[in-house]
């Protein structure tokens, strides 16, 4: 019954230190301890860790996560705040995904360029190739960001 801190560390990839740190910061207020003072993590505690990871990945700071947990403990009077938080996080993550797709376009172009450059032994020669210029235009034709107003950096 219950997982030791070491087991939870192994399962989550966090260290035991980090788990205690989270607890200190108010992120895991439900963890119980046995008679000799050792932590015993329940399945619910693991679920909370999973939620913490989700909120962290969505860009929330630990103290904001602690606040969410505070709301949860307050009960149904804080439902609106929690709804707003999830709406906001979803919007933020959707933005981030869009940003990463642009980053991916740029990296794809660079990868193709350098693959050609390695083949030719020369970056300049690769940049001269019409295929490369065509690829660049295909990926960056929408001039919606500052990046495209300037030349290649290399």
């Amino acid at each position: 019954m219950g997982y030791s801190i070491g087991e939870v560390a192994a399962r989550t990839g966090l260290t035991a230190h980090t788990l205690r740190y989270y607890e200190k910061e108010g992120l895991l207020p439900f963890v119980s301890k046995n008679r000799s003072g050792m932590r015993e993590y329940s399945r619910q505690d693991l679920a909370w860790l999973s939620m913490i990871e989700c909120l962290k990945a969505s860009g929330l700071q630990l103290k904001e996560i602690a606040q969410y947990i505070g709301w949860f403990k307050e009960g149904d009077s804080t439902l609106k705040q929690r709804l707003q938080l999830f709406q906001k996080r979803r919007a933020v993550v959707e933005q981030e995904v869009m940003k990463l797709h642009k980053i991916l376009d740029k990296l794809t172009y660079k990868e193709a360029l350098y693959r050609e450059a390695v083949a030719l032994g020369s970056l300049d020669a690769a940049m001269q190739k019409p295929e490369m210029q065509a690829l660049k235009e295909m990926l960056f034709q929408k001039p919606d960001d500052f990046d495209q107003l300037v030349e290649d950096e290399d």
Copy 2:
């Protein structure tokens, strides 16, 4: 002529302080200065800043970006390293996008759950609803991560 540090700051959203800091860290080794010692940024410098932003967004640390710039300055003898770097970054960003899609699923579920909870005035009542349980199953039927092995945290 070229851009002053203030103009570049306004354009990029970075502060003048940050631009000088980047230079100190070896990220902008091409910026020239006028007779009175002030920085004059060229179009190429702006392009480098755009590349720096891209690599930063791909998860690279500043000192790793500085190393990439070092490779660029060394010339065609470092083409392979640079190609490998872009391949690696693309893989990392693709992973990150996949991770964020999972995060998005979870946030979508939570948002729907809390929307219902706000309507009903009770989280427990919302969790009881068959629609919510159906949505949860729809989003999380693939048991490929630890998250799904445990119950809801709330």
